[in-house]
């Protein structure tokens, strides 16, 4: 059985899944950048006490699952989300949804995801894909980061739905429960709500580790990494930062380019010219993240590595922090028509 579903490749898995699942009811209007922006996806956090893969825990996007939830909430669309104890129940529920004609989003771990290249398989449990049918023992999979649709055997799918470790998906399935049509009015309202939420998330979140303050904090920490960790380990830490920022799923520049694209699309709906100017600030921020990544690469490739080089690296982040603060303040101060 194969549901009427069109695979669309996107940059980021969760906003791609969200966009694809809302495609029909929005008549193609909820693009990936709109899903990302309405879901207030842009973020920064560095949690110094946690280690991931022996390196720093850094994220450029909001907590997994929130983009789908917030986008649907902002559009006034009810969401169904289920977790399972038993693998059998999880598969039965999936089959039932397919029988009823619903393509569904699944949270999965990538360590055993057979179609991913081995080099990309870490114990990362917050990947998202869509199941849109089953033929014999093969589930039809639309993985938004892949160019083409693919398949997983029922065993392979079960294994990734029940991967273990941090953020274990526990068979999680989700989909929007909505058969109507999303109007432009709904989209306009949702865009404003998404921007407001993202402003709060970056400017008002308490503590030193998150939001624009978190970027500055990380920049200051990086300057100390060389002495504290030694050159080799500090290089590995920077490599991890770059991977979180640029790896598949980010759209480049730590999601800043997707956000800039979102503001341009928001302008089409809301006709506030400030949005275009602020979009440029996010492009600049993305470019600066990339400049910082080139500097980091110089260090982990062993081409450079003096304290001066670490200072410059840290200063890039402090500069980005100032720039993003300016951009989010400008968003905050928009007087909506």
């Amino acid at each position: 059985m194969k549901l009427d579903f069109e695979h669309i490749q996107s940059a980021h898995c969760e906003s791609g899944v969200t966009s694809s699942l809302l495609r029909k009811s929005s008549l193609n209007k909820i693009t990936e950048p709109l899903a990302f922006g309405i879901g207030a996806g842009l973020f920064f956090v560095y949690v110094p006490i946690i280690k991931i893969n022996n390196g720093p825990a850094i994220a450029f996007r909001t907590f997994p699952g929130l983009i789908f939830k917030r986008t649907c909430n902002a559009l006034g669309i009810p969401v169904v989300r289920k977790k399972f104890r038993s693998k059998e129940q999880a598969e039965n529920y999936l089959k039932q949804q397919l029988d009823e004609g619903n393509p569904v989003g699944c949270q999965v771990g990538v360590y055993y995801l057979s179609y991913f290249p081995r080099e990309y398989r870490f114990h990362f449990n917050a990947h998202n894909l869509i199941v849109y049918g089953k033929e014999d023992d093969n589930y039809l999979i639309s993985d938004p980061v892949m160019e083409n649709p693919t398949t997983l055997t029922s065993y392979e799918l079960e294994r990734v739905r029940f991967s273990k470790g941090a953020l274990a998906p526990r068979g999680q399935i989700y989909y929007p429960k909505f058969n109507g049509t999303i109007t432009d009015e709904q989209i306009k309202k949702a865009i404003k709500a998404g921007i407001k939420r993202n402003v709060n998330q970056m400017l008002r979140i308490p503590g030193r580790f998150a939001g624009v303050r978190g970027i500055r904090y990380t920049g200051e920490k990086i300057k100390k990494w060389r002495d504290k960790l030694g050159l080799q380990k500090a290089g590995l830490y920077l490599a991890q930062l770059v991977r979180m920022q640029e790896e598949i799923g980010t759209g480049g520049g730590g999601f800043r380019y997707i956000y800039a694209a979102f503001l341009q699309e928001a302008h089409v709906y809301l006709q506030q010219d400030e949005l275009l100017e602020i979009s440029k600030l996010f492009t600049q921020a993305g470019d600066l993240w990339r400049t910082a990544a080139v500097q980091a690469a110089g260090i982990y490739k062993g081409r450079i590595g003096s304290q001066e080089d670490f200072n410059l690296m840290g200063d890039y982040l402090i500069e980005i922090s100032v720039l993003e603060k300016e951009a989010f303040l400008a968003l905050k101060n928009i007087k909506w028509h």
């Binding site: 940059a11 893969n53 022996n54 990309y120 980061v145 273990k164 341009q264």
Partner: protein
């Protein structure tokens, strides 16, 4: 738009957002970027080093083969605990060679399943994949 060939690029190109000549955002496909390819290489070089070090510790009798397979499967004690159902303190004990050698077949089987290897290979630290 960088087009440096990555291990992912051989399988799929990835979508990136970039501005066109008029400043409007469009999506483009990229097969990779040297800066992030080398970041991934650095991570794997570190994993290889950790594997080699773990193997030597096992050969020296300082740790049980579990340590090697944890590095091989990129697992820390917490992930291994989730996969096997053992408590973390139990795994810490099983990491001692003298405790490991007396483990029951049932317990060894749990570890073998978590690492996706055979029990015999687990004992002898043998891997069949590249």
């Amino acid at each position: 738009m960088p087009q440096d060939m990555s291990s992912l690029g051989k399988i799929t190109k990835e979508v990136c957002y970039a501005t066109d000549s008029s400043g409007k955002y469009v999506t483009e496909l990229s097969s990779g970027w040297d800066v992030k390819i080398t970041a991934l290489d650095a991570a794997w070089a570190d994993i290889e080093e950790r594997k080699a070090k773990a193997k030597q510790q096992v050969l020296n009798g300082e740790a049980s083969p579990l340590l090697f397979f944890m590095e091989y499967r990129l697992m820390d004690i917490s992930i291994l605990s989730d996969y096997t159902g053992f408590w973390k303190w139990q795994i810490k004990r099983h990491l001692k060679p003298e405790v490991f050698k007396d483990l029951s077949d049932k317990k060894l089987q749990k570890y073998a399943e978590a690492f996706n290897v055979k029990v015999d290979d687990l004992k002898t630290m043998t891997v069949h994949e590249a």
